[in-house]
């Protein structure tokens, strides 16, 4: 099956946004996780943390208003809301390591049913290892959400019994949002808590490299 079945990227991001409580302090990873900010339900206010020293990231700047002094972790120009604060890197990671960030949303290469995450290196010969703040985020943020296509571009499962790539962190993922389903990481392993429209549990199981249980809300499926 295609990794593009089920939810679109935007729908996946919106599905994540629904689950983030009002008033949360949130760190969004580079790439697809950045989309989440566009889908926050009306009436909720989230505060975005940017690990290179900004709390209170605002909407994207107009192209001609981009300021090279005001960038995010992906090195892209951003804006700051009224009520933002700038700080240095040690203070920024005090927020992360000290458990002050409520939620982070990260991409993934592989997730194990134990909650292990691999999202920084394939460990391939000749690859340039680059970890950034990923290991700090998964070790420090209270709730770690993963947003990813269910399978790789070549159709290999990303949700596995065990990660084969070098880990970012052990037993750190709380919930996974893919194009096919929303899946909790529990003591019993992966448990589906929501399915994309038109996607069956069997399709999810077929695209997953580990046993997949079913949460209470889906027991009727």
């Amino acid at each position: 099956m295609s990794s593009q079945s089920g939810w679109t990227r935007e729908q996946m991001a919106a599905r994540v946004a629904v689950d983030i409580p009002d008033g949360s302090y949130v760190n969004l990873g580079i790439g697809m996780p950045e989309l989440v900010a566009q889908f926050v339900p009306k009436g909720r206010e989230l505060v975005y943390h940017v690990e290179n020293g900004l709390l209170g990231m605002g909407p994207d700047p107009e192209p001609d208003a981009a300021d090279p002094d005001l960038i995010n972790a992906g090195k892209k120009p951003v804006t700051a809301i009224p009520g933002a604060a700038f700080f240095h890197h040690a203070d920024s990671f005090t927020m992360i390591r000290g458990g002050h960030i409520d939620v982070c949303v990260l991409g993934a290469m592989q997730i194990a049913s134990s909650g292990d995450l691999a999202n920084w290196s394939t460990g391939a010969e000749g690859a340039i290892p680059a970890v950034g703040g990923a290991m700090d985020l998964v070790a420090g943020v209270r709730t770690v959400l993963v947003l990813t296509q269910h399978t790789t571009k070549t159709g290999e499962p990303k949700l596995l019994e065990r990660c084969t790539y070098p880990l970012t962190g052990k037993a750190c993922v709380d919930r996974i949002y893919t194009n096919l389903a929303v899946i909790d990481v529990t003591e019993q392993g992966f448990v589906v808590v929501d399915l994309a429209p038109g996607v069956s549990l069997d399709e999810v199981r077929a695209a997953t490299g580990a046993p997949v249980g079913v949460g209470p809300a889906l027991q009727h499926v």
């Binding site: 009520g83 604060a85 700080f87 390591r97 458990g99």
Partner: protein, 236 residues
């Protein structure tokens, strides 16, 4: 909309439980959140562990909290001051515990607690009685002691301005322990002289980003401990 303001001192401290560990900002009177401390006395919580550099003076603020027998244990660097009689008397009578911590180690332990650092090494107190019972380890040819991060259930902190996000600035040397205590408490309660609109505190000059603050209560004209002591005031 995020709005951390609470309407009263009473509401700000309502859920502080018996046995709680409370970090209280201030170095002497500078930065001492007297109104929050008095609200805590009214509230009645007992058996508290209090982290503060000192133990208060006269019969107001922290000294009054101790005098009202709400404090089981003090963690501080300097429990003696010119007008301080409350703590010494209880301490000599064996009715209050003391954990004495060098001032910089106290600050670093609080900072570590807030930063998710469970322990660190420092050369401070090596070879002294305050090293006793602690692991000693050599780095760069020099002995260091292992010290542990310190966290609290609540922090009571005095700031100058706050906005609805909880961003804070402070006045001069009242800053002292406030910013690090806000990072190290599960619930940080701040009395500010003024609530301003978001952005009124220049984002380059925010001292405590709002993520570290849970509640803000406005005390527009806070009392100065030394003035109350001079007037011979006590609380309640």
């Amino acid at each position: 909309m995020i709005d951390k303001q609470v309407e009263s001192l009473e509401a700000a401290v309502a859920d502080i439980h018996d046995g709680a560990t409370i970090m209280i900002g201030g170095f002497g009177e500078a930065g001492s959140p007297i109104e929050l401390i008095h609200a805590l006395i009214d509230q009645g919580a007992r058996e508290l562990t209090v982290v503060n550099n000192n133990t208060g003076s006269g019969g107001v603020g922290l000294a009054a909290l101790i005098q009202n027998r709400r404090v089981r244990k003090m963690i501080c660097s300097y429990p003696r001051t010119a007008n301080s009689t409350v703590f010494p008397e209880l301490y000599r009578a064996g009715e209050i515990e003391l954990e004495l911590v060098p001032q910089g180690t106290l600050a670093e332990r609080i900072r570590a607690g807030g930063a998710g650092i469970p322990a660190f090494y420092t050369a401070t107190a090596v070879g002294t009685v305050l090293e006793e019972g602690k692991e000693v380890r050599r780095f760069d040819g020099k002995d260091h002691v292992l010290e542990h991060g310190l966290r609290a259930d609540f922090a009571l902190v005095k700031a100058r301005r706050a906005d609805r996000y909880g961003n804070l600035d402070y006045s001069k040397t009242t800053r002292n322990f406030g910013p690090i205590m806000c990072t190290a408490a599960a619930c940080s309660i701040v009395q500010a002289e003024e609530l301003v609109a978001p952005g009124d505190i220049d984002p380059e000059c925010v001292v405590t980003p709002g993520i570290f603050v849970d509640r803000v209560v406005v005390v527009a004209d806070p009392a100065h401990e030394s003035h109350l002591v001079k007037e011979g005031r006590t609380y309640p």
